[in-house]
Symmetry: C2
Subunit: 137 residues, 2 copies
Amino acid sequence: MKPTPQYRSDCPINYALETFGDKWSLLIIRDLIFQGKKNYGEFLNAEEKISTNILANRLEKLELEGLISKSSDPDNHAKKVYRLSSKGIDLLPMLIEMMAWSAQYDQHTGCPVEFSNQLKADKQSLIAQLKQQLIKS
Amino acid sequence: MKPTPQYRSDCPINYALETFGDKWSLLIIRDLIFQGKKNYGEFLNAEEKISTNILANRLEKLELEGLISKSSDPDNHAKKVYRLSSKGIDLLPMLIEMMAWSAQYDQHTGCPVEFSNQLKADKQSLIAQLKQQLIKS
């Protein structure tokens, strides 16, 4: 039986922070959502240089929290592939707000101009469109 | 001159995470937004039991990142009061999405039912209303 995570309080913001709110977990979720990454090696290649032990730890934690699921790669059974659960996909609106905030305040943001414009013009359609793609993938 | 923070990449999600994305910074922002807390002693009383050294460190970091400002309490000059900047207030939509997500997935959420219902019924009005209150305070 998997252990049940314990939280510091029942505050909804604290729950979110303890579930995915560290400097690495959300980057893994970013890579699953926006980069189409699916396996360990791909996550390891992130620009922010995540270490192997932190990556393994965070993947395990995200799986325990029900944000991602792990299965065998149909082309290579020794290889694992990770997918977002609906609980993980539902982080999309929050991530989009996070990106919109950064695009507004970070002078050096790497948020593509086209994406940023679409964000400003119609955030809800963008979220719906991305969600549809994720459910299909 | 204050040092300029350095970031691991120019990804907008990474910027957000490095600016406020640790398990404590966002709880301080939560307390400023939703609890009307303003000073060190009030933040220290949070249910999640933040330690004095982490609290001092995170307040300094949030100030350096321009999310909060520090001034002397007009009633007691030795005492400091903290206020959100507009950059800090603009985290509101993201926090609201975070709460909505937790209210949906955390069985033990402390998100008040009334607030949760208002969230579902009209998120945009709720954000506008809270923002107005914060700007006035």
